[in-house]
Subunit: 303 residues, 2 copies
């Protein structure tokens, strides 16, 4: 029996099997133990594939320096997706007004002020400032597992406000960076294929804001700066991006003063596995109970 693809039954299945726990807002659900086990084991497989590459490994918190967002001009392209962190800076009387407003169901956000941090909208952002300076001849390679925020509340389970990305960032010469990106594009397809996922890659674009964004997206597509690896999860016709590859050329190198050993502005590229999305692709493809998954898939995840 070939599976059907629709949002409601997939969401209901995830909930009924205890894989996710709905909360009052879309895209911020809890993850159950079985969901987490699959997610962590997939992340472990990524580490295994990358083990001989010698990446430096970091974890950054879900909030980052607000200035990073400003420096990369995130608000020029994705204002609708940003998550700025606001808090309370007032005195005792103002605190009383704030609490009363909140307790009466009023708008209390307008009584807050902006802090120095924002939610991290892209797993790779926090590392660039620390790459500043001259790279070693072989460039640098970094891996991270970070929580990412996008303000796009949706009932569609794979479109989350908050999710984890297993990220790799490569900085070096253009040829170092592009060769590395191309190698991982094939690795990603191989890894997902080894888990029985019908993955394919394609040129892709970012969800730039507004009409001007259409032109940015066209340029991005023409220059093949973004690729995605796609697996059907809630639609056969519009498969879900579970892995994303971005070639930034010298954008971050010039913004953060990253140079190659020859004194040129460094190029960078990143790739990220959307860990919740890969996990959901596995549940969609093989069923809601991992005990019934094909032996070859189980052998990969529970060796």
């Amino acid at each position: 029996m070939s599976p059907t693809y629709d949002i409601d039954s997939f969401h209901a299945g995830l909930v009924e099997h205890g894989l996710i726990v709905p909360v009052g807002v879309p895209g911020a659900f809890g993850r159950g133990a079985v969901f987490e086990d699959v997610l962590e084991r997939f992340n472990g497989l990524v580490s295994q594939v990358a083990r001989d590459d010698g990446a430096e490994v970091y974890t950054f918190p879900p909030v980052i320096d607000r200035q990073v967002l400003e420096k990369v001009h995130y608000l020029d392209s994705f204002p609708h997706l940003c998550g700025a962190v606001h808090s309370f800076f007032g005195n005792a009387l103002q605190a009383l007004a704030l609490a009363e407003r909140a307790n009466s169901g009023g708008d209390w956000g307008s009584l807050l002020g902006q802090t120095g941090v924002v939610l991290n909208p892209a797993a790779c952002y926090p590392i660039y400032p620390s790459l500043a300076g001259t790279l070693p001849p072989e460039g640098r390679l970094v891996s991270m597992l970070n929580w990412v925020y996008r303000h796009e509340p949706s009932p569609e389970p794979t479109r989350m406000q908050s999710f984890r990305v297993r990220e790799f960032v490569r900085a070096g010469t253009p040829s170092q960076v592009v060769a590395w990106r191309d190698m991982w594009l094939q690795r990603g397809l191989d890894l997902l294929g080894s888990l029985g996922l019908p993955a394919r890659s394609d040129v892709a674009t970012d969800p730039f804001f507004g009409r001007g964004g259409k032109i940015l997206a066209m340029n991005q597509k023409e220059q093949k700066l973004k690729f995605e690896v796609l697996v059907p999860v809630i639609s056969l016709d519009e498969p879900t991006a579970v892995c994303s590859f971005n070639f930034h050329q010298d954008h971050f190198g010039s913004t953060f003063g990253i140079r190659t050993v020859d004194g040129e502005v460094a190029n960078t590229a990143c790739l990220g596995f959307g860990l919740e999305r890969v996990t959901m692709a596995l549940f969609k493809t093989h069923g809601f109970d991992p005990k019934t998954w094909p032996d070859a898939v189980r052998a990969r995840l529970w060796p």
Copy 2:
């Protein structure tokens, strides 16, 4: 040689040994591979200690439903610590104004509106709505590992804006809940002691806002509703709370409609290990290089 306790040299040591990576704002640093290894292994020890308790295990994202914050009246007590998530809801012209404001170093937060999510300020909060209804006779026990946000930027490494808590929540009758809390207070001391940490427990208070907060804190202390396990990290005289135990009586039970099998409003308690703080306590106590730690400690963490 007995160690000295001061903020600057401890921060410098963490950075020099690659354990943390400073970013442009305080309390949001990156964590290096060795730091993460210790943190994960300590978390694993907690799981081992708790393995026969039969806790349900969840992971919640760093953002939670804004209404949870409102329902528990967080802003009455801790307005200064909150982190509300704001985003952009305007049209193309307004987006242009936003980007121009951000690019010129102006205040762009006032051009945003509040979203339906807030940063999670207490690891236990997201679970209470899903405990609504009648508990089984033995009550319920939940474990989570969640990122927590507090708006308290500080150069003091153990005072972070964003950190992880390994949390346990118990819901049931008052006697079930208090017996469980008391058992974990001893377990916490034993676990930290087995890692060579000079841990002691004490009655504690939450950092309530303002003058009214002093009265709340006095009541909390008198009723012994909060305990902490403390280890010296940046001061011998004022040791750092690495584990916190809160008895909420029927506060969350009544707020979220949680009942015992007898129809009474359920009581709840929670406890959380501040994973970064425990990790820092280990580095402070045993040195910045885990290879040089005492054999007994290494045997516990790298068995």
